[in-house]
Protein backbone atom coordinates (compact mmCIF):
# COMPACT_ATOMS: atom_id res chain seq x y z
CA UNK A 1 0.00 0.00 0.00
CA UNK A 2 1.15 3.47 -0.79
CA UNK A 3 -0.68 5.24 1.97
CA UNK A 4 -0.61 4.08 5.55
CA UNK A 5 -3.95 2.86 6.81
CA UNK A 6 -6.05 5.17 8.98
CA UNK A 7 -6.59 3.77 12.47
CA UNK A 8 -8.78 6.63 13.63
CA UNK A 9 -11.34 8.25 11.36
CA UNK A 10 -13.54 11.02 12.68
CA UNK A 11 -16.23 12.66 10.60
CA UNK A 12 -18.32 15.59 11.85
CA UNK A 13 -18.33 14.29 15.39
CA UNK A 14 -20.28 16.37 17.93
CA UNK A 15 -21.13 16.16 21.59
CA UNK A 16 -23.80 18.26 23.23
CA UNK A 17 -24.53 18.62 26.93
CA UNK A 18 -27.98 20.19 26.86
CA UNK A 19 -27.54 23.44 24.94
CA UNK A 20 -23.79 23.49 25.41
CA UNK A 21 -21.80 22.27 22.43
CA UNK A 22 -18.68 20.69 23.91
CA UNK A 23 -17.42 19.25 20.64
CA UNK A 24 -18.56 20.89 17.42
CA UNK A 25 -18.43 18.78 14.25
CA UNK A 26 -14.78 17.81 14.32
CA UNK A 27 -13.25 15.75 11.51
CA UNK A 28 -9.78 14.26 11.29
CA UNK A 29 -7.96 10.99 10.79
CA UNK A 30 -4.90 9.42 12.35
CA UNK A 31 -2.60 7.11 10.40
CA UNK A 32 -1.18 3.88 11.78
CA UNK A 33 2.11 4.40 13.59
CA UNK A 34 1.66 8.15 13.77
CA UNK A 35 2.23 10.34 16.83
CA UNK A 36 -0.81 12.57 16.79
CA UNK A 37 -0.84 15.60 19.08
CA UNK A 38 -4.27 16.72 20.22
CA UNK A 39 -3.88 20.24 21.60
CA UNK A 40 -6.23 22.80 22.99
CA UNK A 41 -6.71 25.13 25.94
CA UNK A 42 -8.48 23.90 29.06
CA UNK A 43 -12.18 23.52 28.30
CA UNK A 44 -11.69 23.46 24.54
CA UNK A 45 -13.29 20.00 24.38
CA UNK A 46 -10.20 17.78 24.11
CA UNK A 47 -11.12 15.46 26.93
CA UNK A 48 -14.73 15.13 25.78
CA UNK A 49 -13.58 14.28 22.26
CA UNK A 50 -11.11 11.74 23.58
CA UNK A 51 -13.74 10.11 25.79
CA UNK A 52 -15.92 9.51 22.75
CA UNK A 53 -13.03 7.84 20.96
CA UNK A 54 -12.17 5.50 23.84
CA UNK A 55 -15.75 4.35 24.20
CA UNK A 56 -16.78 5.77 27.58
CA UNK A 57 -18.96 8.54 26.22
CA UNK A 58 -21.33 8.26 23.30
CA UNK A 59 -21.37 10.98 20.62
CA UNK A 60 -24.41 13.17 19.93
CA UNK A 61 -23.91 13.04 16.18
CA UNK A 62 -21.33 12.35 13.49
CA UNK A 63 -19.29 9.28 12.67
CA UNK A 64 -16.10 7.82 14.07
CA UNK A 65 -14.17 4.59 13.89
CA UNK A 66 -11.25 3.58 16.07
CA UNK A 67 -9.07 0.63 15.05
CA UNK A 68 -11.73 -0.08 12.44
CA UNK A 69 -14.57 -0.30 14.96
CA UNK A 70 -17.57 1.98 15.18
CA UNK A 71 -17.73 4.09 18.36
CA UNK A 72 -21.50 3.71 18.62
CA UNK A 73 -21.87 -0.01 18.22
CA UNK A 74 -18.50 -1.59 18.85
CA UNK A 75 -17.20 0.20 21.94
CA UNK A 76 -16.29 -3.15 23.52
CA UNK A 77 -14.09 -4.12 20.57
CA UNK A 78 -12.43 -0.71 20.63
CA UNK A 79 -11.57 -1.16 24.30
CA UNK A 80 -9.69 -4.38 23.57
CA UNK A 81 -7.53 -2.63 20.96
CA UNK A 82 -6.56 0.53 22.76
CA UNK A 83 -4.45 1.49 25.74
CA UNK A 84 -5.20 4.49 27.89
CA UNK A 85 -3.25 6.54 30.35
CA UNK A 86 -4.45 9.77 31.93
CA UNK A 87 -2.79 12.54 33.82
CA UNK A 88 -4.45 11.38 37.01
CA UNK A 89 -3.57 7.79 36.47
CA UNK A 90 -2.44 6.62 38.78
CA UNK A 91 -1.47 3.07 39.11
CA UNK A 92 -2.72 1.71 42.41
CA UNK A 93 -0.52 3.29 45.06
CA UNK A 94 -1.19 0.59 47.60
CA UNK A 95 -0.21 -2.23 45.26
CA UNK A 96 3.37 -3.17 44.41
CA UNK A 97 4.83 -2.70 40.93
CA UNK A 98 4.46 -6.42 40.30
CA UNK A 99 0.87 -6.55 41.56
CA UNK A 100 -0.12 -3.60 39.39
CA UNK A 101 1.31 -5.28 36.31
CA UNK A 102 -0.40 -8.55 37.17
CA UNK A 103 -3.74 -6.85 37.75
CA UNK A 104 -3.76 -4.77 34.58
CA UNK A 105 -2.40 -7.64 32.50
CA UNK A 106 -5.19 -9.75 33.96
CA UNK A 107 -8.05 -7.41 33.09
CA UNK A 108 -6.84 -7.30 29.50
CA UNK A 109 -7.03 -11.07 29.45
CA UNK A 110 -3.31 -11.88 29.26
CA UNK A 111 -2.30 -15.33 30.47
CA UNK A 112 -0.09 -15.74 33.50
CA UNK A 113 2.81 -16.73 31.27
CA UNK A 114 2.40 -13.68 29.05
CA UNK A 115 2.17 -11.43 32.10
CA UNK A 116 5.35 -12.88 33.61
CA UNK A 117 7.20 -12.44 30.35
CA UNK A 118 5.94 -8.89 29.81
CA UNK A 119 6.78 -8.00 33.36
CA UNK A 120 10.38 -9.14 33.03
CA UNK A 121 10.83 -7.17 29.81
CA UNK A 122 9.23 -4.07 31.22
CA UNK A 123 11.08 -4.14 34.54
CA UNK A 124 14.36 -4.53 32.74
CA UNK A 125 13.63 -1.80 30.22
CA UNK A 126 12.68 0.71 32.89
CA UNK A 127 15.38 -0.43 35.30
CA UNK A 128 12.90 -1.26 38.04
CA UNK A 129 14.55 -4.49 39.23
CA UNK A 130 15.16 -3.11 42.72
CA UNK A 131 11.58 -2.00 43.30
CA UNK A 132 9.36 -4.70 41.76
CA UNK A 133 8.08 -5.61 45.20
CA UNK A 134 7.80 -2.06 46.53
CA UNK A 135 4.52 -0.22 46.74
CA UNK A 136 3.97 2.17 43.84
CA UNK A 137 3.36 4.92 46.42
CA UNK A 138 7.07 4.85 47.26
CA UNK A 139 8.21 5.56 43.67
CA UNK A 140 9.01 9.06 42.36
CA UNK A 141 6.32 10.59 40.12
CA UNK A 142 8.44 10.29 36.97
CA UNK A 143 8.89 6.56 37.47
CA UNK A 144 5.20 6.14 38.11
CA UNK A 145 4.35 7.88 34.82
CA UNK A 146 6.78 5.78 32.84
CA UNK A 147 5.51 2.64 34.52
CA UNK A 148 1.90 3.67 33.87
CA UNK A 149 2.69 4.20 30.19
CA UNK A 150 4.36 0.81 29.92
CA UNK A 151 1.42 -0.80 31.69
CA UNK A 152 -0.97 0.77 29.18
CA UNK A 153 1.03 -0.99 26.45
CA UNK A 154 1.01 -4.42 28.16
CA UNK A 155 -1.64 -5.90 25.89
CA UNK A 156 0.04 -4.51 22.74
CA UNK A 157 -2.79 -2.19 21.73
CA UNK A 158 -3.00 -0.75 18.21
CA UNK A 159 -3.52 2.75 19.55
CA UNK A 160 -2.62 4.26 22.88
CA UNK A 161 -4.42 7.34 24.16
CA UNK A 162 -2.39 9.56 26.47
CA UNK A 163 -4.27 12.31 28.31
CA UNK A 164 -1.69 14.88 29.45
CA UNK A 165 0.71 12.13 30.41
CA UNK A 166 3.57 14.35 31.52
CA UNK A 167 1.71 16.73 33.82
CA UNK A 168 3.83 17.76 36.79
CA UNK A 169 6.96 15.92 35.66
CA UNK A 170 10.44 17.45 35.45
CA UNK A 171 11.99 18.18 32.00
CA UNK A 172 14.48 15.31 32.12
CA UNK A 173 11.80 12.78 32.91
CA UNK A 174 9.57 14.28 30.23
CA UNK A 175 12.39 13.75 27.76
CA UNK A 176 12.76 10.13 28.85
CA UNK A 177 9.01 9.71 28.65
CA UNK A 178 9.02 10.90 25.05
CA UNK A 179 11.78 8.43 24.25
CA UNK A 180 9.40 5.71 25.40
CA UNK A 181 6.68 7.18 23.19
CA UNK A 182 9.01 7.20 20.18
CA UNK A 183 9.98 3.64 20.85
CA UNK A 184 6.35 2.53 21.01
CA UNK A 185 5.57 4.42 17.79
CA UNK A 186 8.59 2.83 16.15
CA UNK A 187 7.14 -0.58 17.07
CA UNK A 188 3.98 0.35 15.17
CA UNK A 189 1.75 1.62 17.97
CA UNK A 190 -0.26 4.70 17.10
CA UNK A 191 0.03 7.44 19.69
CA UNK A 192 -2.80 9.86 20.35
CA UNK A 193 -1.59 12.39 22.90
CA UNK A 194 -2.97 15.53 24.52
CA UNK A 195 -0.54 17.94 26.11
CA UNK A 196 -0.10 21.46 27.42
CA UNK A 197 3.59 21.57 26.70
CA UNK A 198 4.25 23.17 23.33
CA UNK A 199 7.77 21.77 23.13
CA UNK A 200 6.13 18.36 23.21
CA UNK A 201 3.90 19.41 20.33
CA UNK A 202 7.07 19.75 18.27
CA UNK A 203 7.79 16.06 18.82
CA UNK A 204 4.51 15.01 17.19
CA UNK A 205 4.17 13.98 13.55
CA UNK A 206 1.00 16.02 13.24
CA UNK A 207 -0.94 18.17 15.64
CA UNK A 208 -4.49 19.44 15.78
CA UNK A 209 -5.45 22.48 17.81
CA UNK A 210 -8.92 22.68 19.28
CA UNK A 211 -10.54 26.00 20.09
CA UNK A 212 -14.05 26.23 21.54
CA UNK A 213 -15.05 22.74 20.48
CA UNK A 214 -13.73 23.03 16.92
CA UNK A 215 -10.48 21.97 15.31
CA UNK A 216 -8.97 25.23 14.03
CA UNK A 217 -5.68 23.89 12.71
CA UNK A 218 -4.35 20.49 11.74
CA UNK A 219 -0.97 19.81 10.14
CA UNK A 220 2.64 18.96 10.82
CA UNK A 221 4.32 21.29 13.32
CA UNK A 222 6.59 22.56 10.54
CA UNK A 223 3.77 23.53 8.21
CA UNK A 224 1.75 25.09 11.00
CA UNK A 225 4.68 27.30 11.92
CA UNK A 226 5.05 28.35 8.28
CA UNK A 227 1.36 29.00 7.94
CA UNK A 228 1.22 31.21 11.04
CA UNK A 229 4.63 32.72 10.33
CA UNK A 230 6.19 31.98 13.70
CA UNK A 231 9.21 30.04 14.97
CA UNK A 232 7.58 28.04 17.73
CA UNK A 233 4.47 25.99 18.27
CA UNK A 234 3.91 28.09 21.34
CA UNK A 235 3.22 31.14 19.18
CA UNK A 236 1.00 29.16 16.85
CA UNK A 237 -1.03 28.06 19.82
CA UNK A 238 -1.27 31.55 21.28
CA UNK A 239 -2.39 33.06 17.96
CA UNK A 240 -5.13 30.48 17.62
CA UNK A 241 -6.29 30.32 21.20
CA UNK A 242 -6.59 34.08 21.47
CA UNK A 243 -8.55 34.11 18.24
Amino acid sequence: MMKAQNVIEVDNLSKLFGDFVAVNQISFHVKAGEIFGFLGANGAGKTTAMKMLIGISSPSSGKATVAGFDVYKQAESIKKNIGYMSQKFALYDDLTVKENITFFGGIYGLSKKQIDQKRCELVEELGLQEVTNSLVASLPLGWKQKLAFSVSLLHEPKIVFLDEPTGGVDPITRRQFWELIYKAAHNGTTIFVTTHYMDEAEYCDRVSIMVNGKIDALDTPKKLKEQYKTDTMNDVFLKLARG
Partner: protein, 368 residues
Protein backbone atom coordinates in the same frame (compact mmCIF):
# COMPACT_ATOMS: atom_id res chain seq x y z
CA UNK B 1 -13.37 -15.74 35.44
CA UNK B 2 -9.64 -15.11 35.53
CA UNK B 3 -10.34 -11.40 35.29
CA UNK B 4 -12.76 -11.71 38.16
CA UNK B 5 -10.21 -13.49 40.35
CA UNK B 6 -7.67 -10.79 39.52
CA UNK B 7 -10.08 -8.02 40.48
CA UNK B 8 -10.98 -9.71 43.72
CA UNK B 9 -7.35 -10.30 44.65
CA UNK B 10 -6.55 -6.65 43.99
CA UNK B 11 -9.47 -5.55 46.15
CA UNK B 12 -8.19 -7.68 49.03
CA UNK B 13 -4.80 -5.99 48.72
CA UNK B 14 -6.55 -2.63 49.05
CA UNK B 15 -8.44 -3.73 52.12
CA UNK B 16 -5.60 -5.41 53.97
CA UNK B 17 -3.13 -2.60 53.32
CA UNK B 18 -5.40 0.10 54.64
CA UNK B 19 -5.30 -0.01 58.43
CA UNK B 20 -8.30 2.26 58.79
CA UNK B 21 -10.61 0.10 56.76
CA UNK B 22 -9.28 -2.98 58.50
CA UNK B 23 -10.17 -1.46 61.83
CA UNK B 24 -13.66 -0.55 60.67
CA UNK B 25 -14.07 -4.02 59.24
CA UNK B 26 -12.97 -6.06 62.19
CA UNK B 27 -12.51 -3.76 65.17
CA UNK B 28 -15.91 -2.09 65.00
CA UNK B 29 -18.05 -5.21 65.18
CA UNK B 30 -16.26 -6.45 68.27
CA UNK B 31 -16.19 -3.06 69.97
CA UNK B 32 -19.84 -2.41 69.16
CA UNK B 33 -21.17 -5.72 70.30
CA UNK B 34 -19.25 -5.47 73.57
CA UNK B 35 -20.31 -1.85 74.10
CA UNK B 36 -23.94 -2.54 73.47
CA UNK B 37 -23.81 -5.76 75.40
CA UNK B 38 -22.12 -4.46 78.51
CA UNK B 39 -22.28 -0.71 78.75
CA UNK B 40 -25.25 0.66 76.90
CA UNK B 41 -27.94 -1.44 78.38
CA UNK B 42 -31.43 -1.16 79.78
CA UNK B 43 -30.59 -3.74 82.33
CA UNK B 44 -29.90 -2.45 85.79
CA UNK B 45 -27.18 -3.78 88.03
CA UNK B 46 -26.26 -2.83 91.57
CA UNK B 47 -28.54 0.16 91.70
CA UNK B 48 -28.29 1.85 95.10
CA UNK B 49 -31.60 2.07 96.93
CA UNK B 50 -32.72 2.94 100.45
CA UNK B 51 -35.37 1.29 102.60
CA UNK B 52 -37.82 2.93 104.98
CA UNK B 53 -39.35 0.13 106.96
CA UNK B 54 -42.10 1.51 109.19
CA UNK B 55 -43.37 -1.92 109.97
CA UNK B 56 -40.20 -3.77 110.83
CA UNK B 57 -41.77 -7.21 110.94
CA UNK B 58 -40.90 -10.65 109.62
CA UNK B 59 -42.57 -10.16 106.26
CA UNK B 60 -40.93 -6.84 105.46
CA UNK B 61 -37.54 -8.21 106.58
CA UNK B 62 -37.97 -11.17 104.23
CA UNK B 63 -38.73 -8.89 101.31
CA UNK B 64 -35.75 -6.67 102.12
CA UNK B 65 -33.51 -9.71 102.22
CA UNK B 66 -34.79 -10.79 98.85
CA UNK B 67 -34.05 -7.39 97.35
CA UNK B 68 -30.63 -7.33 98.95
CA UNK B 69 -29.91 -10.74 97.51
CA UNK B 70 -30.75 -9.67 93.95
CA UNK B 71 -27.85 -8.54 91.84
CA UNK B 72 -29.91 -5.67 90.53
CA UNK B 73 -29.99 -3.70 93.77
CA UNK B 74 -27.77 -2.95 96.67
CA UNK B 75 -29.25 -1.46 99.79
CA UNK B 76 -27.21 1.57 100.65
CA UNK B 77 -29.16 2.85 103.60
CA UNK B 78 -31.95 1.99 106.02
CA UNK B 79 -33.66 5.22 106.95
CA UNK B 80 -35.93 5.82 109.91
CA UNK B 81 -38.21 8.77 109.14
CA UNK B 82 -40.16 9.85 106.10
CA UNK B 83 -38.49 13.26 106.34
CA UNK B 84 -35.12 11.72 105.39
CA UNK B 85 -36.44 10.58 102.01
CA UNK B 86 -36.18 13.95 100.37
CA UNK B 87 -32.68 14.62 101.59
CA UNK B 88 -31.37 11.24 100.53
CA UNK B 89 -32.75 11.80 97.03
CA UNK B 90 -31.34 15.29 96.89
CA UNK B 91 -27.90 14.01 97.70
CA UNK B 92 -28.31 11.72 94.71
CA UNK B 93 -27.07 8.77 96.70
CA UNK B 94 -29.90 6.45 95.81
CA UNK B 95 -32.08 5.95 92.76
CA UNK B 96 -35.07 4.61 94.69
CA UNK B 97 -36.56 4.36 98.15
CA UNK B 98 -38.78 1.50 99.19
CA UNK B 99 -41.30 2.39 101.86
CA UNK B 100 -43.18 -0.31 103.78
CA UNK B 101 -46.37 0.94 105.42
CA UNK B 102 -47.02 0.61 109.13
CA UNK B 103 -48.05 -2.86 110.14
CA UNK B 104 -47.20 -4.21 106.70
CA UNK B 105 -47.12 -7.85 107.80
CA UNK B 106 -50.32 -7.59 109.84
CA UNK B 107 -52.21 -5.98 106.99
CA UNK B 108 -51.06 -8.64 104.64
CA UNK B 109 -52.28 -11.45 106.88
CA UNK B 110 -55.46 -9.87 108.19
CA UNK B 111 -56.64 -7.88 105.19
CA UNK B 112 -54.78 -9.98 102.67
CA UNK B 113 -53.47 -6.78 101.17
CA UNK B 114 -50.55 -4.51 102.05
CA UNK B 115 -48.82 -1.61 100.36
CA UNK B 116 -45.25 -0.93 99.46
CA UNK B 117 -44.46 2.44 98.03
CA UNK B 118 -41.72 2.59 95.42
CA UNK B 119 -40.26 6.06 95.13
CA UNK B 120 -37.94 6.48 92.21
CA UNK B 121 -35.69 9.31 91.15
CA UNK B 122 -37.38 10.30 87.90
CA UNK B 123 -34.66 12.59 86.61
CA UNK B 124 -33.87 9.61 84.43
CA UNK B 125 -37.37 8.49 83.51
CA UNK B 126 -36.32 5.34 81.72
CA UNK B 127 -34.21 4.25 84.62
CA UNK B 128 -36.99 5.05 87.10
CA UNK B 129 -39.46 3.06 85.12
CA UNK B 130 -37.11 0.12 84.87
CA UNK B 131 -36.29 0.15 88.59
CA UNK B 132 -39.93 0.33 89.49
CA UNK B 133 -40.65 -2.62 87.25
CA UNK B 134 -37.82 -4.66 88.69
CA UNK B 135 -38.87 -4.06 92.29
CA UNK B 136 -42.48 -4.83 91.50
CA UNK B 137 -41.38 -8.07 89.96
CA UNK B 138 -39.43 -9.01 93.08
CA UNK B 139 -42.49 -8.22 95.21
CA UNK B 140 -44.67 -10.28 92.99
CA UNK B 141 -42.25 -13.10 93.15
CA UNK B 142 -42.29 -13.04 96.94
CA UNK B 143 -46.06 -12.94 96.95
CA UNK B 144 -46.24 -16.00 94.75
CA UNK B 145 -43.92 -17.94 97.00
CA UNK B 146 -46.06 -16.95 99.96
CA UNK B 147 -49.23 -18.02 98.26
CA UNK B 148 -47.73 -21.32 97.30
CA UNK B 149 -46.82 -22.28 100.86
CA UNK B 150 -49.98 -20.97 102.47
CA UNK B 151 -53.10 -21.49 100.50
CA UNK B 152 -54.49 -18.04 101.13
CA UNK B 153 -54.53 -15.33 98.49
CA UNK B 154 -52.24 -12.62 99.82
CA UNK B 155 -51.72 -9.50 97.84
CA UNK B 156 -48.86 -7.08 97.92
CA UNK B 157 -49.64 -3.76 96.25
CA UNK B 158 -48.39 -2.32 93.89
CA UNK B 159 -48.40 -4.93 91.31
CA UNK B 160 -46.68 -4.47 88.05
CA UNK B 161 -46.35 -6.61 85.03
CA UNK B 162 -42.89 -7.36 83.74
CA UNK B 163 -42.57 -6.52 80.08
CA UNK B 164 -38.98 -7.71 79.68
CA UNK B 165 -37.77 -10.98 78.48
CA UNK B 166 -38.08 -13.65 81.11
CA UNK B 167 -34.46 -13.49 82.22
CA UNK B 168 -34.38 -9.69 82.25
CA UNK B 169 -31.55 -9.63 79.73
CA UNK B 170 -31.41 -6.61 77.50
CA UNK B 171 -28.55 -8.00 75.46
CA UNK B 172 -31.15 -10.23 73.81
CA UNK B 173 -32.68 -7.19 72.25
CA UNK B 174 -29.37 -5.66 71.24
CA UNK B 175 -27.69 -8.51 69.43
CA UNK B 176 -30.01 -8.47 66.40
CA UNK B 177 -29.79 -4.68 66.26
CA UNK B 178 -26.03 -4.52 66.53
CA UNK B 179 -25.64 -7.24 63.95
CA UNK B 180 -27.84 -5.26 61.57
CA UNK B 181 -25.98 -2.01 62.13
CA UNK B 182 -22.58 -3.61 61.62
CA UNK B 183 -23.51 -5.47 58.46
CA UNK B 184 -25.03 -2.28 57.12
CA UNK B 185 -21.96 -0.27 58.02
CA UNK B 186 -19.45 -2.68 56.56
CA UNK B 187 -21.37 -3.50 53.44
CA UNK B 188 -22.85 -0.17 52.44
CA UNK B 189 -20.32 2.32 53.73
CA UNK B 190 -17.16 0.39 52.93
CA UNK B 191 -18.21 -0.47 49.39
CA UNK B 192 -19.41 3.02 48.58
CA UNK B 193 -16.12 4.41 49.87
CA UNK B 194 -14.00 1.91 48.00
CA UNK B 195 -15.81 2.57 44.71
CA UNK B 196 -15.66 6.35 45.08
CA UNK B 197 -11.96 6.05 45.94
CA UNK B 198 -11.36 4.62 42.48
CA UNK B 199 -13.32 7.51 41.01
CA UNK B 200 -11.28 10.03 42.97
CA UNK B 201 -7.98 8.46 42.01
CA UNK B 202 -8.95 8.32 38.37
CA UNK B 203 -8.47 4.57 38.23
CA UNK B 204 -12.19 4.01 37.67
CA UNK B 205 -11.74 5.65 34.28
CA UNK B 206 -8.93 3.26 33.46
CA UNK B 207 -11.11 0.31 34.45
CA UNK B 208 -13.98 1.59 32.31
CA UNK B 209 -11.67 1.99 29.30
CA UNK B 210 -10.49 -1.59 29.78
CA UNK B 211 -12.45 -4.50 28.29
CA UNK B 212 -13.97 -5.15 31.72
CA UNK B 213 -17.69 -4.51 31.60
CA UNK B 214 -18.99 -2.03 34.18
CA UNK B 215 -20.83 -4.74 36.09
CA UNK B 216 -17.64 -6.83 36.19
CA UNK B 217 -15.80 -3.87 37.68
CA UNK B 218 -18.45 -3.49 40.36
CA UNK B 219 -18.79 -7.20 41.16
CA UNK B 220 -15.03 -7.48 41.47
CA UNK B 221 -15.01 -4.65 43.96
CA UNK B 222 -18.01 -5.80 45.92
CA UNK B 223 -17.35 -9.51 46.23
CA UNK B 224 -14.62 -9.29 48.90
CA UNK B 225 -17.01 -7.35 51.09
CA UNK B 226 -19.61 -10.11 50.91
CA UNK B 227 -16.96 -12.49 52.15
CA UNK B 228 -15.78 -10.18 54.94
CA UNK B 229 -19.33 -9.36 56.00
CA UNK B 230 -20.14 -13.04 56.32
CA UNK B 231 -17.11 -13.43 58.57
CA UNK B 232 -18.35 -10.48 60.61
CA UNK B 233 -21.79 -12.01 60.95
CA UNK B 234 -20.20 -15.23 62.19
CA UNK B 235 -18.05 -13.35 64.72
CA UNK B 236 -21.10 -11.50 66.06
CA UNK B 237 -23.14 -14.65 66.42
CA UNK B 238 -20.25 -16.42 68.17
CA UNK B 239 -19.72 -13.50 70.56
CA UNK B 240 -23.44 -13.49 71.31
CA UNK B 241 -23.54 -17.18 72.00
CA UNK B 242 -20.38 -17.51 74.04
CA UNK B 243 -20.09 -14.20 75.84
CA UNK B 244 -23.69 -13.16 76.29
CA UNK B 245 -25.31 -16.59 76.24
CA UNK B 246 -27.88 -15.46 73.72
CA UNK B 247 -29.42 -18.58 72.23
CA UNK B 248 -29.92 -19.21 68.55
CA UNK B 249 -33.17 -21.08 68.76
CA UNK B 250 -33.84 -21.32 65.06
CA UNK B 251 -31.81 -22.68 62.19
CA UNK B 252 -28.25 -21.39 61.83
CA UNK B 253 -28.48 -22.18 58.14
CA UNK B 254 -31.52 -19.94 57.75
CA UNK B 255 -29.80 -17.21 59.76
CA UNK B 256 -26.83 -17.47 57.41
CA UNK B 257 -29.02 -17.29 54.34
CA UNK B 258 -30.95 -14.26 55.58
CA UNK B 259 -27.70 -12.54 56.59
CA UNK B 260 -26.27 -12.98 53.11
CA UNK B 261 -29.48 -11.58 51.66
CA UNK B 262 -29.24 -8.53 53.92
CA UNK B 263 -25.54 -8.13 53.10
CA UNK B 264 -26.40 -8.04 49.40
CA UNK B 265 -29.17 -5.51 50.07
CA UNK B 266 -26.66 -3.30 51.85
CA UNK B 267 -24.08 -3.73 49.11
CA UNK B 268 -26.66 -2.66 46.55
CA UNK B 269 -27.30 0.43 48.67
CA UNK B 270 -23.56 1.04 48.83
CA UNK B 271 -23.29 0.84 45.05
CA UNK B 272 -26.23 3.21 44.73
CA UNK B 273 -24.52 5.69 47.06
CA UNK B 274 -21.31 5.45 45.06
CA UNK B 275 -23.14 6.28 41.85
CA UNK B 276 -24.45 9.55 43.29
CA UNK B 277 -21.30 10.69 45.08
CA UNK B 278 -18.01 11.59 43.51
CA UNK B 279 -15.76 11.76 46.56
CA UNK B 280 -15.05 9.46 49.45
CA UNK B 281 -16.17 12.13 51.92
CA UNK B 282 -19.56 12.50 50.27
CA UNK B 283 -20.00 8.76 50.21
CA UNK B 284 -19.15 8.56 53.87
CA UNK B 285 -21.50 11.39 54.85
CA UNK B 286 -24.38 9.91 52.88
CA UNK B 287 -23.73 6.50 54.40
CA UNK B 288 -23.59 7.87 57.92
CA UNK B 289 -26.48 10.33 57.77
CA UNK B 290 -28.64 8.56 55.26
CA UNK B 291 -28.12 4.99 56.40
CA UNK B 292 -26.68 4.69 59.87
CA UNK B 293 -28.96 7.13 61.65
CA UNK B 294 -32.22 5.74 60.26
CA UNK B 295 -30.89 2.24 60.82
CA UNK B 296 -30.19 2.95 64.47
CA UNK B 297 -33.17 5.19 65.24
CA UNK B 298 -36.03 4.05 63.03
CA UNK B 299 -35.51 0.33 62.60
CA UNK B 300 -36.88 -0.69 65.97
CA UNK B 301 -33.34 -1.43 67.14
CA UNK B 302 -33.47 0.98 70.09
CA UNK B 303 -36.88 2.61 69.99
CA UNK B 304 -39.99 0.51 69.46
CA UNK B 305 -41.64 1.29 66.14
CA UNK B 306 -45.13 0.90 67.61
CA UNK B 307 -44.62 3.93 69.84
CA UNK B 308 -43.44 6.21 67.02
CA UNK B 309 -45.73 8.80 65.43
CA UNK B 310 -47.49 7.47 62.34
CA UNK B 311 -45.37 9.25 59.68
CA UNK B 312 -42.21 7.77 61.20
CA UNK B 313 -43.82 4.35 61.32
CA UNK B 314 -44.44 4.74 57.61
CA UNK B 315 -40.83 5.72 56.96
CA UNK B 316 -39.56 2.78 58.97
CA UNK B 317 -41.09 0.49 56.36
CA UNK B 318 -38.59 1.54 53.72
CA UNK B 319 -35.63 0.90 55.98
CA UNK B 320 -34.16 -2.50 55.15
CA UNK B 321 -32.80 -2.83 58.69
CA UNK B 322 -36.31 -2.96 60.14
CA UNK B 323 -37.10 -6.12 58.24
CA UNK B 324 -33.77 -7.75 58.94
CA UNK B 325 -34.12 -7.09 62.68
CA UNK B 326 -37.53 -8.79 62.64
CA UNK B 327 -35.95 -11.73 60.84
CA UNK B 328 -32.98 -12.05 63.21
CA UNK B 329 -35.15 -11.71 66.32
CA UNK B 330 -37.47 -14.32 64.89
CA UNK B 331 -34.72 -16.82 64.18
CA UNK B 332 -32.49 -16.23 67.20
CA UNK B 333 -34.98 -15.57 69.99
CA UNK B 334 -38.22 -17.16 68.85
CA UNK B 335 -36.83 -19.97 66.77
CA UNK B 336 -39.25 -19.52 63.89
CA UNK B 337 -38.66 -20.94 60.40
CA UNK B 338 -38.77 -19.41 56.95
CA UNK B 339 -42.56 -19.84 56.84
CA UNK B 340 -43.02 -17.05 59.37
CA UNK B 341 -40.44 -14.78 57.75
CA UNK B 342 -41.55 -15.05 54.15
CA UNK B 343 -42.94 -11.53 53.98
CA UNK B 344 -39.81 -9.91 55.44
CA UNK B 345 -37.51 -11.98 53.22
CA UNK B 346 -39.45 -11.04 50.10
CA UNK B 347 -39.39 -7.36 51.07
CA UNK B 348 -35.60 -7.41 51.44
CA UNK B 349 -35.30 -9.23 48.15
CA UNK B 350 -37.47 -6.67 46.37
CA UNK B 351 -35.54 -3.79 47.91
CA UNK B 352 -32.29 -5.29 46.66
CA UNK B 353 -33.64 -5.48 43.13
CA UNK B 354 -34.88 -1.89 43.26
CA UNK B 355 -31.54 -0.56 44.55
CA UNK B 356 -29.64 -2.47 41.87
CA UNK B 357 -32.02 -1.27 39.17
CA UNK B 358 -31.59 2.36 40.16
CA UNK B 359 -27.79 1.95 40.34
CA UNK B 360 -27.60 0.51 36.85
CA UNK B 361 -29.71 3.37 35.54
CA UNK B 362 -27.69 6.04 37.32
CA UNK B 363 -24.49 4.41 36.20
CA UNK B 364 -25.52 4.59 32.57
CA UNK B 365 -26.51 8.24 32.84
CA UNK B 366 -23.14 9.02 34.35
CA UNK B 367 -21.37 7.38 31.46
CA UNK B 368 -23.20 9.43 28.86
Amino acid sequence: MKRFVGSVRKEFYHIFRDRRSLFILFGMPIVQILLFGFAITNEINNVDIAILDQSNDVTSKEIINKIAASKHFSILDIIQQESSIESIFKKGKVKAVLQFENNFGRHLIKEKQATVQILTDATDPNMANTISNYISSILKNYQQELNNTVSIDYQIVPQSRMVYNAELKSVYMFVPGVMTVILMLVSAMMTSISITREKEQGTMEILLVSPLKPFQVIIGKVFPYIFLSVINAIVIVLLSIFIFNVPVKGSLFLLGFESILFIITSLALGILISTISSTQQTAMMISLMGLMLPTILLSGFIFPISSMPLPLQGISNIIPAKWFIIIVKGIMLKGVGIGFLLKETLILFAMTLVFMGISVKKYKIRLE
